[in-house]
Each structure stands twice: as structure tokens, then as C-alpha cells.
């Protein structure tokens, strides 16, 4: 143990905001679970849901043909239609199948066929048009003209296009809120916050450093999910990259602010976990991550749209799928910015350091 003055090197100058941010990043990076939940989990989710809901050609409509002298001929005619799946039944059996919904239409055995169908079933109308067309053509009808058909599957209108922005938004919400709230509550629990305020540390720098380190991870997180969606599912950002980046940033800031507010007074990990779930649950359900919130009653839609995750998802979809720019998503960005500012200001104000 030296009792002399320590030998002096150049007296260092560190900036506390920079140092706190770096330390925060290191701590976060040294949590072994982080890589999985922040990076691998959203990719796995995207992959699973992307394949579950991938586009496939519409199913052929099952059609019954009643047994009789014309049955074979009619079966052959119907088989020529790419959208029908005909089968021969005994008349009685066919009626049963129709009643049970196993087939959408039954062609009777009469010389001039009768179409039996249940008009309340959505596919019955298509079945009638397709069956009639196939039988008419086979009976010798000549079409007046042939109209070529173009199949359209626009990028931006598939389910996966809907899903990827939703997953991005959800991911920004959960990692943003969890990482900040856990770090704050844990430091309070360990009396580290109390130790910090016994130094000349500026209190706002502590919270800024949480935001800044979050920003670094946010960039990595968004890039990985977006690149993955592009490579695997061909989901692209059709609008401006600037609008996309700004939307992610402001969205991240709003969830960081909410995380700070939730963690501002809580003293235990159990309490913060419960609080987080209470706050996130409505947004998982209502904010249109997996399915559009359009089906909710009109009365609650303004409320749903005011939720930060709804605003973020709407803005991300507008930019990614519809190719809109910043001005179009300005209302959503304003909502997100309001959440970010109000929550972090209140959070810092009521923050419990001990």
C-alpha cells in the first residue's frame, strides 16, 4: 500500500454522459440473454409467422355431380376448370354433403342440370359461375371474345408485408421498455443510484445515457429485422429511408420514456415486471401487431390510435408498405414524440434515487 501521492500521469478528462453510455452498453452486451431476446427472438417470430401465413393459391371449390347418364361427361367438363374439384355422388349422398358444407354446389342428374346450392355461403356464388361456365362451354357455347387475365400480387399488400412492420414495432416496444426499466430498478435495488447521487453526476445525464445506449441497440435491432425481412420475404421499405429511420427513432424514444416513467419509483423487480405487463398487454392486443385494429368498434379507435405502439405501427406501415414520406406520418410521429417527452419529463421529476 503506497502512502505517497500516486504518480501523476496526464489528468484525464472524461465526459460523464459518454462514459455512462459506454458502461451501459457494455453491461447490456454482457447479459447473455440479451442477444437472444433482442436479436434472435424477433427473427424466429418473423420466420414462423411469415411461413404460417405465406401466400398460397386459392383452394379449388369442391363440387358434387349427381350419379346419372350425364355424370361422367359433366365430371370431365368440370375438371377442365382450374378452380373446381368435382366428384360424383349418389343424389341423396350429394345432398347430404351439400348440407354439411363439404361441397359448395351439387349438379343434379337431370338432362338440363339443376344447381343446388346454399346462397348464404360465400363460395357458392363463385361455384355457380364457374360450374355454369364449364358446362356451357362443354355444351358448345362460344365465347364472344377472350379476355386475357393478369394475376396481381403487389409487394406491400401481402400478409408478411403487414406483419414485418408490426413485429418491428412490437420489438421496439418490448426491448426498449424492458432494458431501461430493468436497468434502473436493478440499480436502485443495489443502492447504486444512491451512490451515484453522492457524486457530482448530473441526474439528467443518467437518463440521457439510458436513451443513448438504447439508441445504439435500436439501430442494430431494426437493421437486423429489416434486412432479414428483405432477404427472406422480400419485404422492403418502399418509402424514404429517412422517414423509416426517423420513425424508428422517435418510436424508440417514446418507449424509452415510458420505461423511465414506469421505473421511476418502483423498488422491486417483481413490481416492475407486473407494471410492464399491464402497460404492454393492451398494446399487444389493440395496436395491430398481427391483425388490423380496424375491426374494433369505431368508438374506441381514437383511443387505440393514441397508443404509442399503434402510432408506431401505422407510421411504419405507411412508410414501408405504402411508400409514404415524413409529412404523411407526421400525426403519428407527433403522438410518439408527445409520449416520449411527457413520460421522460414526468419520470425524471418523480424519479426516486434511493
Amino acid at each position: 500500500m503506497s502512502e505517497r501521492l500516486p504518480e501523476r500521469r496526464d489528468r484525464p478528462t472524461y465526459h460523464q454522459l459518454v462514459e455512462m453510455t459506454i458502461v451501459r452498453l457494455k453491461e447490456f452486451g454482457r447479459e447473455p440473454d440479451v442477444a437472444f431476446w433482442v436479436f434472435a427472438f424477433p427473427l424466429l417470430l418473423t420466420l414462423a409467422l411469415g411461413f404460417a401465413f405465406r401466400e398460397k393459391p386459392p383452394d379449388r371449390i369442391p363440387i358434387g355431380v349427381a350419379q346419372g347418364p350425364h355424370a361422367q361427361q359433366r365430371l370431365a367438363a368440370l375438371r377442365k376448370s382450374p378452380s373446381l374439384q368435382p366428384r360424383i355422388y349418389e343424389e341423396q349422398e350429394g345432398r347430404e354433403e351439400l348440407r354439411r358444407g363439404k361441397i359448395s354446389l351439387l349438379v343434379s342428374a337431370d338432362a338440363r342440370p339443376v344447381y343446388r346450392l346454399d346462397p348464404t355461403r360465400p363460395e357458392a356464388r363463385t361455384a355457380r359461375v364457374e360450374v355454369d361456365n364449364a358446362l356451357q362451354v362443354s355444351a358448345g357455347r362460344r365465347d364472344v371474345f377472350q379476355a386475357p387475365v393478369q394475376h396481381v400480387s403487389e409487394q406491400g399488400s401481402r400478409y408478411i408485408d403487414f406483419l414485418v412492420p408490426g413485429l418491428l414495432g412490437m420489438n421496439l416496444m418490448s426491448t426498449g421498455m424492458w432494458s431501461i426499466a430493468f436497468s434502473v430498478v436493478n440499480s436502485r435495488l443495489r443502492k447504486l443510484l444512491k451512490r451515484f447521487i453522492a457524486t457530482p453526476m448530473r441526474k439528467r445525464h443518467y437518463l440521457f445515457s439510458q436513451f443513448l445506449s438504447r439508441l445504439v441497440f435500436l439501430i442494430a435491432e431494426v437493421t437486423i429485422v429489416a434486412v432479414f425481412g428483405w432477404l427472406v420475404f422480400d419485404v422492403t421499405v418502399r418509402g424514404s429511408m429517412l422517414a423509416f429511420a426517423v420513425t424508428c427513432l422517435i418510436g424508440g424514444a417514446s418507449f424509452a420514456g415510458i420505461g423511465v416513467l414506469l421505473a421511476s419509483r418502483v423498488r422491486t423487480i417483481e413490481a416492475i415486471s407486473g407494471l410492464m405487463n399491464v402497460v404492454m398487454m393492451p398494446m399487444w392486443i389493440c395496436s395491430g401487431v398481427f391483425f388490423s385494429y380496424e375491426r374494433f368498434p369505431d368508438a374506441v379507435k381514437p383511443l387505440i390510435r393514441a397508443l404509442p405502439l399503434t402510432a408506431l405501427n401505422d407510421a411504419l406501415r405507411a412508410v414501408m408498405n405504402d411508400g409514404y414520406g415524413l409529412t404523411h406520418v407526421a400525426p403519428q410521429l407527433a403522438i410518439l414524440l408527445a409520449w416520449a417527452v411527457v413520460t421522460s419529463v414526468i419520470g425524471l421529476k418523480i424519479f426516486r434515487w434511493q
Binding site: S2, E3, P6
Partner: protein, 308 residues
């Protein structure tokens, strides 16, 4: 060096709804002094030191540190004091160097973290994570974090509680080293050896009140009796039995063990033996030692320091 106290408080009180944690304490700590608050757990030492550190607010009373008060000069004071709290757990996943560098960044001035690590014999652990440090190493790192802003005053709350003797000695060396560079120290402890070894002056605290103040020698002198006799007899004697002892200053019964404060062992021990014998009692154990702060505390409160 001027004679103005570095730390002073007058009639300091902190009342919680159910307890008066600090109940009218006056203190003056002079420049370059190492001052100890000695007392059992729950005596109000931590509340007192945290009020002086400006992280707890008193119910009433006046605090001045380096001639300034917390209300008007918080930031300046924070730059000039170093603090080690009782229960801080530093971030486990950071290394020793990273932790110290973080704390260094909070202060405008201070040594290079590596220089400080060397002077605290922590340089070998520079790149070890905090979670892997021993109790003594963690505590030295905590003190390093308190020294990293080159403070004029160092506050240490129970710096060696729970440490092994070797680690305790190392930590005492760190404190002595800081004092040799002119620093002022205020520490709390419930170890009387620590108070005797490290402190120039000591305030004994009990139930939020200062019950004694002085140098270790002055405090022990307050007993008016340099020697202590401890004994157990069957059956136990009444206090009145000691009235005939010469140079007798008082007795305290701890369980079935009497502690007698006396002027001279040579006179009192033979007298005591004959008292025991004439009363028809049998002596179970007998021991003697020179009076310590512990004995003063027992004499003042009838309890031991380590009682809760």
C-alpha cells in the same frame, strides 16, 4: 491549515414517524482529523453520516461542510467530498477499471484510475469483473470510488463491516494513506478497535444521541478506572458485595458475568477472591484486561456495542 471545522453540525435531528433516528447531535470535525462515530447498530450513525453527506435531509439542525451548506452549494460540495455508503453493490458486470473510470468521469478533477488502483493494490484486479472480487477487494474498490475525485473530506460508513482481519488492515492503510496526504475523514463503525486505531477523536452514539466525545485516551480516562475484572461465580453476588473493594468505580452485570471497573488489579483481585470465599460462593471464571472503549460503552449504557 485553519481551525474552522471541516464538518460541523448543530442540534441535528431526524425524526421518523416511529423513531427519532437522530436526536440532537452536535459535531465538529477539524481539518486533517479522522473522526469516528462509534455505536451499536441502529444507534443513528448511518442516518447522521448520510445527512452530513447531503443524501438525507434532517428534520432540523444546521449542517456545514467546508464552510458551505447543502442547499446552496450542492454541486461544489459533491466535487469536494468522497463517499462510501454502507450497502452499495457496484455493477457486477463491469470490471474494476471500468467502474473506477465511470466514477472518475463524474468529477472535474482527480487522479488517473490506474494510479489510484495501484495505490490501493487493486492493479492486479484491474480487468476482473466486480462480481469476482473478494469482500475486501470490493470494499477497497468502493473506497477507491470515493477517492477518485480527490476529495478534501472522506465519508466512510462502516468501511470494514464483515471483512476478515487482513482486509481490515489493508483498508486501514488506505485511510491512513489518505490522511497523510492531508485529508479529513469521518467514519462510522461499531468496532471499537477500529475506532481506537484509526480515529483521533470519537463520538459515541446511542439512541440518536451523542453520549461521549473525545480522544480514545480521554474517553477511556472517563472510566476513572484503567482496569476491568470480569468474573462469574456460583451463586452470583449482589452488587452491594463490592462496596468494600478499594479503588472500585462501578460494576455492570452482563448475564451472569460481572464486569468491575477498578484502579488496581494488585489490590482488587485478592480482595475480590476473599469476598467470593466469605460469601460461600464458588468462582467459575475470572479474567482481567486494560479498559477499552467497549468498557466505556458498557459503563455508559449497560449494553455492549455489538448488541442490536
Amino acid at each position: 491549515m485553519n481551525a474552522n471545522p471541516v464538518i460541523s453540525c448543530i442540534d441535528l435531528r431526524k425524526h421518523y414517524p416511529d423513531v427519532k433516528a437522530v436526536d440532537g447531535i452536535d459535531l465538529d470535525v477539524l481539518p486533517g482529523e479522522c473522526f469516528g462515530l462509534l455505536g451499536p447498530n441502529g444507534a443513528g450513525k448511518t442516518t447522521t453520516i448520510e445527512i452530513l453527506e447531503g443524501i438525507n435531509q434532517p428534520t432540523s439542525g444546521e449542517v456545514r461542510i467546508l464552510g458551505m451548506n447543502w442547499r446552496d452549494h450542492e454541486l461544489e460540495l459533491r466535487e469536494r467530498i468522497g463517499v462510501s455508503l454502507q450497502e452499495t453493490q457496484l455493477a457486477e458486470k463491469l470490471t474494476v477499471y471500468e467502474t473506477l473510470r465511470l466514477f472518475r468521469s463524474f468529477y472535474a478533477n482527480g487522479p488517473h484510475p490506474d494510479d489510484l488502483l495501484r495505490s490501493l493494490s487493486l492493479d492486479e484486479k484491474r480487468n476482473a469483473r466486480v462480481v469476482n472480487l473478494s469482500g475486501g477487494q470490493k470494499q477497497r474498490l468502493a473506497v477507491a470510488c470515493a477517492l477518485v475525485g480527490e476529495p478534501d473530506v472522506l465519508f466512510l460508513d462502516e468501511p470494514t463491516t464483515g471483512l476478515d482481519p487482513q482486509s481490515r488492515l489493508q483498508l486501514w492503510d488506505v485511510v491512513q494513506g489518505y490522511r497523510k496526504r492531508g485529508g479529513t475523514v469521518l467514519l462510522t463503525t461499531h468496532y471499537m478497535e477500529e475506532a481506537e486505531r484509526l480515529c483521533d477523536r470519537i463520538a459515541i452514539i446511542d439512541h440518536g444521541k451523542r453520549i461521549a466525545l473525545g480522544t480514545p485516551q480521554q474517553l477511556i480516562a472517563k472510566l476513572d478506572a484503567p482496569h476491568i475484572i470480569e468474573f462469574v461465580s456460583m451463586p452470583a453476588l449482589e452488587e452491594s458485595a463490592f462496596a468494600t473493594l478499594s479503588g472500585f468505580h462501578g460494576a455492570t452485570l452482563r448475564g451472569d458475568r460481572w464486569q468491575l471497573r477498578v484502579d488496581s488489579l494488585a489490590h482488587s483481585v485478592p480482595q475480590l477472591l476473599s469476598i467470593v470465599e466469605t460469601r460461600g460462593a464458588k468462582l467459575e471464571t475470572l479474567s482481567t484486561h486494560a479498559a477499552t472503549l467497549e468498557d466505556l460503552f458498557v459503563a455508559l449504557t449497560g449494553r455492549e456495542l455489538r448488541d442490536v
